[in-house]
């Protein structure tokens, strides 16, 4: 038997096509001009007044750097039928720590969020893709939740809490309300975390719902039927036995909390089905191959474990499309701000790069929301 390299040749061609072709002419030209001017400056330096020439070279170099092509910024991409395999539109939101947030409208245009520069890394995208909620501690007894609308003005909701952990979470609720999770309300670690349900009517007081069965710092998302999925993860050796806990809560009554513990460590991402009561929870850190593991749950009645899967190399789970595909975010090159949005089946099969993004600066957070229309 001898090997034939035909598959290798095909794979090389496929991999080569993944590179984003950029125009390097401007960069090469600017580099050459800088070099020429430095050489010219050095010659003058040898011949005449050193100090004045050095100043001139520095000024010219700075002017050259200003002439370098600026970063192109988020590229225009369309989340349409051809890309998603389903007649739907969707929203993708990408933001960085320093450069603020960007949201993509349904027609595929990028919109810079109005005051996104103040957004912290603790952010959640509403199920309809219209609102980003960002949480800021505001003293020892309250937090501020800034609600950034993709297409309108921002507003801030202040929610009281006895104690706020270093990270907390908020989600815009269907109908204009808000769910805010606090670390815990007790005197020390290990006590029950508390959910504050903030009504849309500002004259009504928030309702506190202790989340029995959860420890640590839960987070979650709203299902299409308005119920809230709550996920908490406990790493080994911290506040209790390791594992993920998934519960479902009815915000109208505060009732629910059926919890199923699974193997795994801290959850780092989640997605809910836009069509029915299912959720996917991505668990913990990637393995040495860069793969993520996740568990899928059915949430009609008591949560049911529907299986555990792995994905090709990805960074974060960011959404669930109407075509029943999971959407993942992957860093290609942080130094150049290049990222992939990868789509897989619910079992991790058929990975496909939906598009390659250019985002100025390192990204801190990304989210995906399918359209609300079926």
């Amino acid at each position: 038997m001898t090997p034939t390299e035909a598959p290798l040749r095909r794979a090389l061609s496929t991999m080569a096509e993944q590179v984003e072709v950029v125009d390097l002419a401007g960069r090469v030209d600017a580099h050459l001009r800088r070099r020429r001017r430095r050489a010219h400056g050095a010659a003058l330096l040898a011949a005449a007044c050193a100090a004045s020439v050095v100043t001139g070279v520095l000024l010219q170099t700075r002017a050259d750097e200003q002439a370098l092509p600026t970063h192109p910024g988020p590229q225009l991409v369309h989340l349409d039928r051809a890309r998603l395999g389903h007649p739907e539109s969707a929203r993708l939101v990408v933001s960085g720590y320093d450069v603020g947030g960007w949201a993509m409208s349904r027609d595929g245009h990028w919109v810079r969020l109005a005051s996104s520069g103040v957004l912290g890394p603790c952010r959640t995208l509403s199920a309809d893709g219209r609102t980003v909620a960002a949480v800021h501690p505001a003293g020892s007894d309250r937090v501020e939740v800034r609600l950034e609308s993709v297409a309108g003005p921002a507003r801030t909701v202040t929610v009281a809490a006895r104690r706020v952990g270093p990270a907390c979470w908020a989600a815009p609720a269907p109908g204009g309300g808000l769910a805010v999770m606090f670390d815990d309300a007790g005197p020390g670690p290990g006590t029950i975390p508390v959910l504050r349900l903030v009504p849309a009517d500002p004259t009504q007081a928030p309702r506190a719902v202790p989340l029995a069965g959860h420890i640590g710092r839960p987070f979650g998302a709203f299902l299409p039927d308005g119920r809230l999925v709550v996920v908490s993860g406990t790493p080994s050796g911290t506040l209790g036995p390791p594992g993920l806990r998934v519960g479902v809560l009815d915000p109208a009554t505060g009732q629910g909390g059926a919890v199923r513990a699974t193997d795994g460590s801290v959850a780092d991402g989640w997605a809910v089905s836009p069509r029915d009561a299912q959720a996917v929870v991505s668990a913990g850190l990637p393995d040495s191959r860069g793969r993520r593991s996740w568990a899928r749950f059915g949430l009609d009645g008591r949560p049911q474990d529907l299986g555990h899967f792995t994905t090709p190399r990805t960074d974060h789970l960011i959404g669930w499309s109407r075509a029943d595909r999971l959407v993942w975010f992957r860093t290609v090159s942080e130094s150049t701000g290049r990222y992939d949005v990868v789509q897989t089946g619910l079992d991790g099969g058929n990975p496909r790069v939906l598009y390659r993004l250019s985002v100025p600066g390192p990204t801190a957070w990304a989210a995906f929301a399918p359209s609300t229309a079926p």
Partner: protein, 169 residues
């Protein structure tokens, strides 16, 4: 590009026309978009000052590619510590039959090869160069290309056998 002479204009035209192909090769060599851009830019800057002489010998692309490959190996020597860390990476599992999955597998497998082995794979199976031409591009002997190819293929076969079909000889 703001260049004045005829040679500079010819160089600008070469950069415009051949950057996509050079980027594809550089991406296979580096596995990183940003590193590929930096590598192509460095190669182009190196040849710019000698463009008139290079172009007077005929098609300048082979020379540019030689600079590209040698720059790649040179950079690896300079950043050897960073590259060694890649040896611990494992491959993504197979099982996905679409081309992207295969490309991801290849990407991980190439990261496990030494830079010269990776270069000979790209030269021989992507650029379709002969052993002699690959040796010229890398500045080494034909025997070295042959041995590096043998080692690279053996390593790829161990890491990702689906990249190499077995046929009866």
């Amino acid at each position: 590009m703001q260049l004045g002479s005829r040679d500079d204009a010819a160089f600008a035209e070469f950069v415009r026309a051949r950057t996509p192909a050079l980027l594809r090769t550089a991406y296979l060599l580096t596995g990183d978009q940003g590193a590929a851009e930096d590598l192509v830019q460095a190669a182009l800057v190196k040849v710019a000052g000698r463009w008139a002489r290079i172009a007077s010998r005929g098609d300048p692309e082979p020379y540019v590619r030689t600079v590209l490959y040698r720059e790649h190996v040179s950079r690896w020597r300079h950043h050897r510590v960073d590259e060694v860390q890649l040896v611990d990476q494992e491959l993504p599992t197979g099982g996905h039959d679409d081309q992207v999955a295969v490309a991801l597998t290849l990407e991980a497998a190439l990261a496990e090869l030494a830079p010269r082995q990776r270069a000979v794979v790209v030269l021989r199976y992507f650029d379709d160069l002969s052993e002699t031409a690959a040796a010229e591009a890398l500045g080494c002997s034909v025997g070295t290309v042959r041995s590096q190819t043998f080692k690279a293929i053996a390593r790829l076969r161990a890491l990702a056998p689906e990249l190499l079909e077995e046929v009866r000889s």
